[in-house]
């Protein structure tokens, strides 16, 4: 008999201790998953949004996508190199960046804000509705290591969609608004 079937064929009654253990395990699982989801992923280059914000670079300078497209997108290596050929060339992180450019290789960034594949999300209408980047992505300008601040799950989307003007709520909470 294997372990799996041995576990499964234990006595049918669940003791109080067992119930507490199960609930505890579930709660711990949920909390840990959430923590992992909101952790800052490791990046190939120690890139700091804070430094760029202090230098007065606007979000849309590097990520112009939301104005016209679904995706914000990560800037091309060419765009990074455009400035860093001359700016802060003595910093180790910038030298790492320029090594990618010289090798003409893409930088393998780890995504921080990621929407599930089955969600049809577009940045453009959100910007059109007057939202700032910070509303969803948090105070990115003060983060030296970028981490997600919202889990970007369905409850979080709906919490905001339900607060919209009454005539828009029906449309914004329709299933096919996001799940096409």
């Amino acid at each position: 008999m294997t372990i799996l079937s041995r576990i499964a064929s234990r006595p049918k009654t669940l003791s109080i201790g067992g119930l507490v253990l199960l609930v505890g395990l579930l709660a711990a699982g949920i909390l840990l998953t959430r923590r992992a989801a909101l952790a800052a992923p490791e990046q190939p280059i120690p890139f700091s949004h804070a430094i760029h914000d202090q230098a007065g670079v606007q979000c849309l300078f590097c990520h112009p996508g939301p104005l016209r497209s679904d995706a914000a997108a990560i800037p091309s290596v060419q765009k990074c190199a455009g400035c860093h050929r001359t700016i802060a060339v003595d910093r180790p992180a910038v030298q790492e960046l320029m090594a990618y450019w010289e090798a003409q290789a893409p930088i393998p960034w780890a995504p921080v804000s990621r929407m599930a594949d089955f969600v049809y999300f577009s940045h453009q209408p959100h910007l059109g509705a007057g939202l700032n980047c910070e509303t969803c992505h948090g105070e990115v300008g003060s983060m030296s290591v970028l981490r997600p601040v919202n889990a970007m799950d369905m409850g979080w989307c709906l919490a905001c969609h339900l607060e919209q003007p009454a005539q828009k709520v029906a449309r914004l909470t329709d299933c096919i608004a996001c799940h096409k």
Binding site: L25, A28, T33, W109, S122
Partner: protein, 737 residues
């Protein structure tokens, strides 16, 4: 374990495991790789659709390709294109796996350890071009240069022809197995003799009521399957006089035969007799509403219905019924398939089938036979057709006798496609310099000195006159949908670069800086045409619309109505079907057919196509031998049992598929597998049926006779289960596997 674990226990255990999974950190497997240099106008997250042409088979369907972040993601049919009208087959869909194939060559290579050593060394393009142009210049007698091509894009064929002419070399020889199995060259020859036009006949399937198809697999691989499938749908939906009727004469239950109203499993070689018998009945009984048959009676002077029915092993009553169905329909058409071309009396069969259309006055009539209308510009006249097979055998003969010093091979894989008995490989070894332009290391590239890889079709330019299939003159254009992934180079550009290096006549004949300049100039020839779908004020604007639409076609349908000017004077004959091998030693007739997914083998390196189940047997990823249950019982062979198939010329081993969709005196093997090279998905899988053919299939023939060989079967003890989607449970019921 599975036996003592109940459903309830399973759910409990699964729930426990689910909780345990909650403890593990979320693994971030996804990486976001930005562009190094973004393409101009590229907007991340927004799809761009490019119109181009599918090159997975020679039909020339229009495609649109969805490109996101500079990467091709999905291929669809071009809804504006008059041929496929927005539809696309599985082979077209799989085109992405040509582009992203892991076994593509990344740069030009030469073989350092000699041919067949498979030790390739990268070579710079400039050096490759210098060496090639020097090699050409060193050959004093330019007739010793040969160019062997498959059905390559029209512009490449035109440029190659111009270059060869300028340097005094013979024109390209066009051969590939797919077009040979379709009988393209033979169909054009038939139209030449009956209508005086060397064009591929167009059968108006959509507007007909009754189709008699003689081995024409028009829903699978023959000619333009997507367009014909759309037309077949129209015909079946009964827009005319109720649901159309299809009778398929074929020894094997092909997918086309499977959807037919009547499948008549004829004995191979008796198709001519059947068509003649049908014609004789129509003439004799004066069937149909076309008035007198007196003008055509002489065609059947020497035909006896009873004798023909006997030789075809069919009751004459059945033939009389079919003749009445065919003749009494308002619109009917008889279609000679490519399968006939593999038989020794195939040409007689094709003529006998075409004669049915002639006696019923179906030529140039709605629902009958047409030929394509010319594209009204000089560069698009005379679309490329495969060369007569005698040119291929002639080339092999010249190679073997040392009369060829340089062989350039492009868009075809003759070492794999031709039967070993053709002597092509021997010939190749007598040629001092062989250069392949294949993007993959296929069997022919292995026997080449250098491979100068072309782009794949989603990265390349081109155009192709659509023939046959569309109801109007059409040119399908090809443009890159992504930047070339590797350091490959378009073969047309290689030829232009060679011409400019060689100077003189060659440079004069090919003055264009690159193929795009040539293509733009070609498109300008159609600028201002009065029948055009679109117009533009300037040639540059026209070129831009050309790429936007994916080619050029006329606004309204226009077909050529041919004149049956070449009706034979004498009575038609059925000929005799001759098979290699005695019927005592080799009791079964071998039927080789192109796989609907892999075609002649060109699709074997695409896993989606390997995975696509055959429509009848649902087998995949391998070769198999189709046997009738009666035959299998007599031989003592069960399903999936390995058998050895022996012909007088070769042998192969493959598992058996026992099913009733084949005549008991025949054995069918799909083509497409049995590659030795051509990448990880193709190599070392299945067997190549062409290896069973002997010299009689090749030598002294004006065509490749792949249907005229007998085989015998030797059961082996091993059971080798095929990967199948479903199979028959022995009592005719389907069971999922």
């Amino acid at each position: 374990m599975a036996s003592n674990l109940s459903r309830r226990q399973f759910f409990k255990a699964a729930a426990g495991l689910g909780v345990a999974t909650g403890f593990s950190p979320t693994v971030r497997r996804v990486l976001l790789e930005p562009f190094v240099r973004p393409p101009e106008q590229e907007l991340p997250g927004k799809a761009t659709w490019y119109a181009s042409t599918c090159r997975q088979c020679p039909a020339g369907c229009g495609i649109i390709v969805r490109v996101i972040n500079g990467r091709a993601r999905k291929i669809e049919g071009n809804p504006d294109h008059p041929l496929n009208r927005g539809k696309l087959c599985a082979r077209g869909q799989a085109g992405l796996q040509v582009l992203y194939n892991p076994d593509r060559l990344h740069n030009a290579v030469r073989q350092t350890g000699g041919r067949n050593s498979r030790s390739f060394e990268a070579i710079a393009w400039s050096e490759a071009l210098t060496q090639l142009s020097q090699a050409i210049e060193q050959i004093g007698d330019r007739s010793r240069i040969a160019f062997l091509a498959g059905l390559i894009p029209d512009h490449l064929h035109a440029l190659a022809t111009r270059l060869l002419e300028a340097i005094g070399a013979p024109p390209p020889v066009v051969f590939d197995l797919h077009t040979a199995l379709e009988g393209r060259a033979l169909a054009a020859g038939m139209a030449q003799s009956w209508f005086g036009a060397r064009q591929l006949p167009l059968y108006d399937i959509a507007n007909t009521e009754v189709i008699l198809s003689f081995g024409a697999n028009f829903l699978e691989t023959w000619m333009s399957p997507v367009s014909q499938s759309v037309d077949y749908g129209v015909m079946r939906q009964g827009r005319l006089a109720g649901r159309g009727f299809l009778a398929q004469f074929e020894p094997r239950l092909s997918p086309t035969a499977a959807v037919a109203d009547e499948w008549i499993p004829v004995r191979p070689g008796s198709e001519a007799a059947i068509a003649l018998a049908l014609g004789r009945i129509i003439v004799e009984e004066n069937l149909g509403r076309v008035g007198s048959h007196r003008d055509h009676a002489h065609l059947y002077r020497d035909v006896s219905v009873e004798a023909m029915a006997e030789s075809a092993d069919l009751p004459s009553e059945q033939l009389r019924r079919l003749a009445r169905t065919f003749a009494e329909a308002g619109r009917s058409v008889a279609v000679p398939g490519g399968y006939l071309g593999g038989l020794s009396n195939g040409l007689q069969a094709m003529d006998a089938v075409m004669a049915l259309n002639v006696i019923m006055r179906r030529i140039g009539q709605e629902g009958g036979v047409f030929i394509p209308h010319d594209v009204p510009a000089p560069r698009f006249l005379n679309p490329v057709l495969p060369s007569p097979f005698s040119e291929v055998t002639d080339l092999i003969e010249r190679m073997r006798s040392g009369q060829v010093d340089l062989l350039l091979i492009c868009g075809t894989n003759p070492v794999y496609e031709l039967p070993p008995s053709s002597g092509f490989l021997d010939g190749l070894q007598s040629v001092p310099l062989v250069v392949s332009f294949s993007p993959f290391v296929d069997e022919t590239a292995v026997w080449s000195d250098a491979v100068l890889p072309d782009h794949t079709y989603l990265e390349g330019w081109g155009h192709q006159v659509v023939s046959p299939g569309a109801d109007r003159p059409a040119v399908s254009s090809q443009q890159p949908v992504v930047r070339p992934l590797y350091d490959t180079r378009s073969t047309a550009d290689v030829l232009l670069a060679l011409a400019s290096r060689m100077g003189g006549m060659a440079a004069e004949a090919l003055p264009w800086p690159d193929e795009v300049a040539y293509l733009e100039e070609s498109s300008a020839e159609l600028h201002g045409s009065s029948i055009s779908l679109y117009d533009a004020r300037t040639p540059a604007g026209f070129w831009s619309r050309w790429r936007q639409f994916g080619g050029w076609w006329s606004e309204k349908p226009i077909r050529e109505e041919p004149e049956p000017s070449g009706i034979p004077e004498a009575s038609l004959g059925a000929g005799t079907a001759v098979f290699s091998g005695s019927s005592e030693a080799y009791p079964y007739i071998l039927l080789l057919y192109p796989s609907s997914a892999l075609s002649d083998g060109r699709g074997a390196n695409q896993p989606w196509l390997q995975e696509a189940p055959d429509a009848i047997t649902t087998a995949r990823w391998n070769s198999w031998v189709e046997l009738n249950p009666t035959t299998a019982a007599a031989l003592g062979v069960t399903d999936n049992q390995l058998v050895r198939v022996l012909s007088p010329h070769g042998e192969l081993q493959a598992p058996a598929v026992v099913h009733p969709g084949i005549r008991p005196d025949c054995v069918a093997i799909p083509l497409g597998q049995g590659h030795q090279d051509f990448g990880r998905f193709a190599a070392g899988r299945g067997a190549q049926g062409m290896s069973l053919l002997g010299e009689s299939a090749v030598e002294g023939q004006t065509r490749l006779m792949w249907g005229a060989t007998r085989v015998r079967i030797e059961p082996l003890s091993e059971i080798k289960p095929l990967a199948r989607l479903e199979s028959l449970d022995g009592e005719g019921r389907e069971s999922l596997r």
